[in-house]
């Protein structure tokens, strides 16, 4: 029984969805908009989608922009690299911000701070200004981290892979949708009467406004946690404000975060690279016209509607039977098959075969992204934000590295570059073998014979002083809820729909 009556007594709160002891939803109902869980899902994927639309709004209009701003191929390549490099550090910073102020404020702030860059794309008039607006717009891709963090805060272990995969996948869709949206908006504006060189500038207002509105939706309709927003929870004492240096320390000393950052660079990073180069590849090698090349480019990104969520759902499905070991094995297998298909893509010589291989490759590449974020929520509870940020940032590092080494200048033909990229994927997926959770096992070994529990693993992130103050309680609840990662050997505790008295501290 609670001794003191808190203003918003948690024991009387009811949720539309069934929840666990942390009030995270235990089911995922995609058609529902019920606050706070499903509403958070829809707001976060739509805002992330808008950021992707803005970041990749320039590529489909490049044939017009390059003539207006007198760009060379080098200028275009550099701008493309700039667009994905800003997010490298922005994603890590976003992870920190989520840990400290919550995903709602962190993401709406970032989206509103990068909206000016999209608005100002309309007034760029030189290669340098073009590069700068693409660079700053690219920072908005850090909303990926807040999306994954938010889903990990709203959904329980059993469905977090699905939630993360759908939110990430449907957001990534923006990179494909923009290849269809921007040319359409451009032609409508031009038909109204604007000249080409003015029409593209006006067209950029559409993604900019969409982005701004989504930030408002996050602020007014969203909620950090099932129980409320961070600022309210901090002030009422239900959630303590964490110590940043400690959060950072526990993130950078966890080797699993670094391995996942590297491997994510070779699924998501590859996806970003392909988004930037694939239209030109088909245009130059197979001499299709620009619109066809754009459609092919769009279909690569549009596969995200089912492929990335599919990866998340698959991760949750194998975890039911095989636990975390199943998640790791599936991640490695899917990413490796993606690498083999990439090698093949560079080798096939006919248009039809290339498109077919590219589509299958996109499915495996994006599924691997979804599978990665089926593992990330379990690496750390205290530093979830920074770990998510590191992994996400690693994705962008992979994109920058791959484009700089393989797709810049004329050292390699594009098809050779694609094959070499496939080989890089194969090599950089091997470290997944090294990931080991003492309480659940890894790819090679089962759980530690010392019988390490989930509580011990997550408690190790808190010092004894902090434990004495009770700061680790949220982690303990999470540890209890994550027992499903042992696989079929352990029956998970039932999750009541409406919790009467909160269970005594675990």
């Amino acid at each position: 029984m609670e001794v003191e009556q808190k203003p918003n007594d948690l024991s009387t709160q009811k949720f539309p969805l069934p929840v666990d002891s942390e009030h995270k939803a235990t089911v995922f109902r995609v058609h529902s908009f019920a606050p706070p869980h499903m509403r958070a899902f829809h707001i976060s994927w739509i805002s992330f989608f808008s950021c992707f639309v803005s970041t990749f709004a320039a590529p489909p209009l490049l044939p017009i922009i390059r003539d207006n701003l007198n760009l060379t191929s080098t200028d275009i390549g550099n701008a493309g690299i700039a667009a994905v490099s800003g997010a490298v550090f922005a994603r890590v910073a976003m992870g920190t911000a989520c840990d400290l102020v919550g995903p709602r404020l962190a993401s709406s702030s970032l989206i509103l701070l990068t909206a000016p860059a999209v608005f100002c794309s309309s007034i760029s008039n030189s290669p340098v200004s073009f590069l700068l607006v693409r660079f700053f717009t690219g920072f908005s891709l850090a909303t990926f981290v807040s999306t994954q963090f938010w889903m990990s805060s709203m959904f329980t272990a059993r469905v977090v892979g699905t939630a993360n995969g759908l939110a990430g996948g449907w957001g990534n869709l923006g990179g494909g949708a923009t290849q269809l949206i921007m040319p359409l908006v451009f032609s409508v504006i031009r038909d109204i009467g604007a000249t080409k060189f003015t029409a593209w500038r006006i067209a950029f207002f559409i993604p900019a406004l969409f982005q701004t509105l989504s930030a408002y939706a996050i602020f007014f309709l969203g909620q950090d946690m099932p129980d409320g927003n961070y600022s309210k929870l901090h002030k009422s004492g239900e959630r303590h404000k964490d110590n940043f240096p400690q959060v950072l320390y526990h993130a950078v000393t966890n080797y699993r975060g670094w391995i996942l950052a590297l491997t994510y660079g070779y699924c998501f990073g590859v996806e970003l690279t392909v988004d930037n180069i694939i239209a030109q590849y088909f245009y130059d090698r197979f001499n299709v016209n620009l619109r066809t090349a754009g459609m092919i480019a769009a279909s690569f990104g549009l596969a995200n509607i089912f492929s990335r969520p599919g990866g998340g759902i698959l991760s949750d499905a194998v975890a039911k039977r095989f636990g975390m070991r199943g998640r790791l094995w599936t991640l490695w297998m899917v990413q490796t098959i993606g690498g083999l298909l990439c090698v093949l893509l560079g080798k096939v010589g006919s248009l039809g075969a290339s498109v077919a291989v590219m589509l299958v490759f996109s499915i495996f590449c994006q599924a691997a992204c979804g599978l990665t974020f089926g593992v990330v929520p379990f690496v750390s509870r205290r530093s979830l934000g920074i770990i998510s940020g590191m992994t996400g940032g690693g994705g962008n590092v992979g994109a920058v590295l791959t484009q700089v080494i393989l797709f810049r200048g004329s050292r390699f033909s594009t098809e050779t570059g694609i094959t070499l990229m496939g080989i890089m994927i194969l090599c950089c997926s091997l470290p997944i073998w090294l990931i080991y959770f003492p309480q659940w096992g890894g790819m090679l070994h089962g759980p530690s014979s010392k019988g390490t529990t989930e509580e011990e693993y997550y408690m190790s992130e808190w010092s004894s002083t902090e434990r004495n103050k009770g700061f680790h309680q949220a982690s303990m609840k999470f540890a209890d809820n994550s027992r499903s990662e042992r696989g079929r050997r352990v029956e998970s505790a039932p999750a009541p729909v409406d919790q009467g008295t909160p269970s005594p501290g675990v």
Binding site: L105, T198, M295, I296
Partner: protein
């Protein structure tokens, strides 16, 4: 996968349509004499300035060489300096793939002499260095002859066009205003958030 099959088949179909035997520029004879009004190095403003082109058949060639000529297309073409590091303007021998001449000035039926046309440089012509070339087509729409205002290496008698920026004051002001509004509304958010947290604590 039905979507993929549809995409693949439509691409293959468009490929079949596009494949056609193209003439090459190296095989064409320079049978036309073309002159244009801009002097070498002159800078023209897109949308304002005019180019007057005259073209005629070069009579030093054998009679009957122009018997197949049916139409003339006069085009504005990129000079090599504007093609550097820009693969979308590349000169390729196969005329069906050549991207040197992307702007049509005029299309007229063939006449051996006294052809002239005045063209206002179109508003969406990009900033670059140009020359003028005329192609002669036969009744099957194949290139059978050409002429240009510059020499074979495309180094002499080139002129420039300065494009419009496409920017308007109203657009500039809108961009700045919306950007400022985004940032200001963010500070508004923080203010509201602080107020809400304080009031919930006082409850």
């Amino acid at each position: 996968m039905a979507r993929a099959a549809l995409l693949v088949s439509s691409i293959l179909l468009s490929c079949l349509v596009a494949t056609s035997y193209g003439a090459t520029i190296s095989s064409l004879m320079r049978t036309l004499v073309v002159t244009a009004s801009p002097a070498a190095g002159q800078v023209l403003k897109a949308g304002e300035d005019k180019i007057t082109v005259t073209w005629s058949y070069n009579n030093t060639f054998a009679r009957g060489t122009d018997s197949t000529y049916k139409t003339i297309k006069v085009k504005l073409c990129y000079a090599p300096i504007s093609q550097v590091d820009r693969a979308w303007r590349k000169t390729v021998d196969d005329l069906s793939k050549d991207k040197t001449c992307q702007f049509n000035i005029v299309t007229k039926p063939y006449n051996p002499s006294n052809n002239t046309f005045t063209w206002t440089v179109e508003r969406d012509t990009p900033t670059a260095t140009y020359f003028v070339r005329a192609y002669a087509y036969n009744s099957a729409e194949e290139e059978v002859g050409f002429g240009q205002t510059t020499d074979a290496h495309k180094t002499t008698n080139l002129f420039e066009v300065h494009a419009i920026s496409g920017r308007h004051t109203s657009l500039d002001i809108s961009s700045i205003c919306f950007s400022a509004f985004s940032v200001v509304s963010l500070f508004g958010f923080f203010f509201i958030e602080k107020r809400k947290a304080k009031s919930s604590q006082q409850k």
